[in-house]
Amino acid sequence: MNRDQLARIAVGDDERGGVSRRAFIKGSGAAAAATAIAQGAIVMADEAPTSTAVVGPEATAITMTVNGRQRTVSAEPRATLLEVLRTQLDLTGAKPVSSDGSSGASTVWLDEKPVSASTTLAIECEGKSVRTVETLGGVKPDPVVSAFAAHDAMQCGFCTPGFVVAVRAFLDKNPTASEDEIRAGLNGNLCRCGTYANVIAAALDVVKGGSNG
């Protein structure tokens, strides 16, 4: 990313979650081990006029609703949602597989929209609602969880929670999805053990109303 691109980002999206984009860039560098980029951004950020309060780089209080409960955490502006969920809230269902979101293993709902928690900053979630795979478990699991178990749509299981959230979100939008639609619509998640065939079977089963918890 060059300086021009950064400048466009710096001025192009000024308000996110009540925190200025400027502050976000200012503190975000090392999360992607991109110190040089961050330093470039700081220079430009200081040049950009703003009236929004600046937070960071030290930890700041962030309040969000997590699985229905209001939680306040203390995290640096560069901390990802994934890091905060896993290390501060003991919600380890979302997994750290890729830092760029290409695996889908850290998929959670942010204001009921599926996002990659590894590419979402915790500070972006200020005042928002986060829901994780853990809400689908428990004594009476969600039908998607039950179908994954019944169809053995897992091996090592590390990608599985992210896949479960993706399937749940996909079927919420496409409750009568066909096999072709399932094959076309669930390509954001990676599995190395090769569980795709069973994931397809599990998703189809949920559509047909089987494994209904």
């Binding site: 560098g29 090392a30 999360a31 081990a33 110190t35 030290e58 640096e76 901390a79 890091e83 896993r86 290390t87 003991d90 919600l91 380890t92 269902g93 979302a94 997994k95 750290p96 597989v97 890729s98 830092s99 290409s102 695996s103 293993a105 994780t132 795979v133 853990e134 689908l136 478990g137 428990g138 699991p141 969880v145 039950s146 994954f148 178990a149 019944a150 053995d152 749509a153 897992m154 091996q155 090592c156 299981g157 590390f158 990608c159 599985t160 479960v164 094959r183 669930l186 390509n187 954001g188 998640n189 990676l190 599995c191 190395r192 053990c193 090769g194 569980t195 795709y196 065939a197 397809i200």
Partner: protein, 730 residues
């Protein structure tokens, strides 16, 4: 009790049925805790710094700025001045910090000066490697029916004999074949969370080797294995790369000791791919002589490849693969590259050997214009194991599932729909398996509770469930009545999970312990009921006299006879000991149907058939999953994934998930799995399944592409560019 056996086929309630894995909901709902999920209070995050250069010497390391980064707690160099680095991503230093951000910033603040050295990473071109002085001494292995006379020069005779046999053949096929390096790409990278209690270390290690890694931590840390407990309840993929504590595991423990805090150190994705293992490449030049029916008369090959800085490549011992013609010469040359070291990758050597030699066999069929199926069938007399009859039966079954005969067309002679052609290909494989060493301890509590404990691990193959099935079946209990405890080195030792040895190993120890424990319990029950112990059977939650259900006790009543003390029984199996519970050696046949777009070079799997024997099947559901998974992994290395190296700098260019192409859910086509288990398989006991079905996809898919297009794409993976290049030069 000396005689151990499995229940007769058809009399089981759990074994050889489809059982849902006992930790399925825990895994699917995120409740299962992996090594990287372990987060004791105060845990520090550690991060490794990888060398950016593929070949260099360390001139200086300056960590002073890194130490001053807010949040950084400890910076620890892993290399010394003057150390030579042999591959990009080799670890130079570690940073332990309060947060991920601080750890990353700390790594970025380390300054290292390097002396650059010559880089060589071109494993595809033998001449280039020779010119760069990167080759080892070629190793030859020759087998000929005729022998040289006493006064003849051996090598000259062999050369002349090979030439004579080639000339005498009805057809001679010459070809080049290859398969590039791939990585393991475990979803959970290598790493651990380590914590100390005084001088006692607990390492939550992502490992395939729970019982074998404590000593690897202890020795470099100056303690003994008795001071170390290794834990791993769940592992996010291993595939052969996670047998060791590894230098970064020891470093994690050392960082924890020095900081006095728990430390979690998981490798970043790029360092994981560069340094934590890969599968060697294999390239080969083949001359093959066959008669007019496609029966191979003589094989002559020269191969090369790399396993990284120490040379290596694919073992010539499995070339040509499964088929072992009476006359063959094979030569292998090792190439040393500035690339990370290989590690066992699911069925070491076999997938590559299949991909670079069964393709040559298929080209014999193409040259003769006969059905590839017939060429494979007619060469079965030369297989190196005793499975020719099994292959014949499995080929028949696979062909039926694929509808091979009705779909078959000669190579390149199929119907073209727009720019798309389709084709069929096949491959066969072999693997040893057989149980590893395993000891377990079964405890029956007076209140009826049952547990079994062993230092095994569940790679995702369903080991935990398999153990539960074996014990529950033996005691006549439901699966959920058994508490299966694995994943700790504090339990009786069980072998590492590698080479398809786990299911047979843990089934052996648990069946033995369970049969022995039941025999002891039956003594008490027999006295109580006034019947002979030998007449008792355990089923449906009761122990009863066979043929007289009125004389019975519930499981709980029976266990109450133990009094105050639980009954503990160990079961032990040593690899290689003759046993009616397990054996070794499997076959397996796979067939692929693909579509190839001649305009774009894109290969799409349409249908894949896998017919696989594995002896007695403990759990049909997880066994089938293993095969689906192996086929998909096979599709990955056949069509999508490879390590891409920059020839100038030795940089591993695609060492991130976004760039390292793997198939996704929509890329796999239809997969048909056939668990091949005639009575003869059930009767020979458990064998093991992890490796075999991942072996043949490369050959089957490459052969299908050759059949579709009429052109051999020599090197796997069959990327659009390679397909177009092959079509263009045809």
């Amino acid at each position: 009790m000396a005689e151990y056996s499995w229940p007769r086929r058809g009399t089981t309630s759990l074994i050889d049925t489809e059982q849902t894995r006992i930790d399925g909901v825990a895994k699917a709902s995120g409740a299962a805790k992996y090594s990287c999920d372990i987060n004791p209070k105060g845990t520090l995050v550690a991060r490794a710094m990888g060398c950016p250069h593929a070949h260099c010497k360390i001139k200086s390391i300056d960590i002073s700025l890194a130490k001053d980064v807010p949040g950084v707690v400890l910076v620890s160099p892993a290399k010394a001045i003057g150390d030579e680095i042999q591959w990009q991503g080799d670890i130079i230093a570690y940073v332990a910090a309060e947060t991920e951000g601080a750890a990353a910033e700390g790594v970025a603040a380390i300054t290292v000066e390097y002396e650059m050295l010559d880089v060589f990473v071109d494993d595809q071109h033998l001449a280039a490697a020779e010119a760069a002085d990167r080759t080892g001494k070629p190793l030859s292995n020759v087998q000929l029916v005729n022998e040289p006379g006493d006064d003849e020069d051996e090598e000259a005779f062999e050369e002349a004999e090979i030439q004579r046999l080639l000339e005498a053949s009805d057809v001679v096929v010459e070809g080049n074949y290859g398969i590039n390096v791939i990585t393991h790409m475990c979803m959970e990278p290598h790493g651990s969370t380590c914590e100390w209690n005084g001088d006692q270390l607990t390492a939550h290690l992502s490992t395939q080797n729970v019982s074998g890694t404590a000593g690897q931590f202890a020795d470099p840390l100056g303690i003994t294995a008795s001071d170390v407990t290794v834990h791993c309840d769940f592992i996010g993929g291993g595939f052969g790369s996670k047998f060791a504590a590894d230098s970064w595991g020891v470093a994690c423990a050392e960082l924890a000791r020095q900081t006095g805090r728990p430390v979690r150190l998981m490798l970043d994705r790029d360092i994981e791919l560069k340094t934590a293992g890969n599968r060697p490449s294999g390239f080969i030049k083949v001359k093959i002589g066959a008669d007019k029916n496609g029966v191979v008369q003589v094989w002559d090959s020269q191969q090369w490849g790399t396993s990284g800085a120490s040379g290596g490549g694919v073992s010539q011992g499995v070339v040509p693969y499964v088929f072992d013609p009476e006359n063959r010469r094979r030569t292998a040359t090792s190439i040393a590259t500035n690339a990370g070291p290989q590690r066992a990758w699911r069925a070491p050597n076999h997938p590559q050997a299949a991909a670079i030699t069964h393709t040559a066999y298929d080209d014999v069929a193409a040259a003769l214009g006969i059905d590839s199926y017939d060429v494979f069938l007619r060469n079965l007399d030369s297989v190196s194991n005793d499975k020719a009859d099994v292959y014949r039966a499995q080929m028949e079954r696979a062909a039926e599932l694929m509808q091979w005969k009705s779909k078959w067309h000669a190579h390149g002679k199929g119907e073209k729909k727009g720019s798309v052609v389709t084709g069929l290909g096949m491959g066969i494989h072999t693997w040893g398996g057989g149980g590893h060493n395993s000891t377990c301890r079964i405890t029956i509590h007076p209140d009826g509770g049952v547990e079994t404990a062993l230092g095994s691990q569940d790679l995702g193959t369903g080991t935990r469930t398999v153990i539960g099935i074996v014990v529950a079946e033996t005691f006549g209990l439901p699966l959920d009545a058994v508490n299966v405890k694995i994943g700790s080195s504090s339990y009786p030792a069980s072998g590492p999970s590698g080479g398809s040895t786990t299911v047979a190993g843990v089934s052996e120890s648990n069946r033995r312990a369970a049969q022995d424990a039941l025999a002891q319990l039956n003594e008490l029950v027999a006295a109580k009921l006034g019947v002979g112990a030998a007449d008792l059977v355990a089923k449906e939650g009761r122990i009863q006299a066979s043929g007289d259900a009125s004389k019975s006790l519930s499981w709980k009543e029976a266990c109450a006879l133990l009094g105050m003390t639980p009954l503990e029984v160990n079961g032990e199996f040593r690899r290689g000991e003759p046993s009616s519970l397990s054996s070794s050696q499997v076959a397996g046949v796979q067939m692929a149907e693909v579509a190839v777009d001649l305009d774009t070079g894109i290969v799409k799997p349409l249908k894949f058939v896998a017919v696989q024997d594995m002896g007695l099947i403990i759990n049909r559901k997880t066994a089938a999953s293993q095969i689906y998974g192996a086929v998909i992994m096979g599709i990955a290395y056949s069509i999508f994934e490879e390590r891409i190296m920059d020839l100038q700098t030795g940089a591993f260019l695609n060492a991130e998930l976004a760039d390292y192409r793997l198939p996704r859910l929509g890329d796999i086509g239809e997969i048909v799995v056939d668990l091949w288990e005639p009575d003869s398989e059930y009767e020979r006991g458990v064998v093991g399944l992890g490796e075999p079905p991942v072996i043949s996809p490369g050959a089957a898919i490459s052969n299908a592409v050759a059949n579709a297009t009429g052109v051999r794409v020599p090197v796997l993976p069959l990327t659009p560019q390679r397909v177009l290049d092959a079509l263009g030069s045809a």
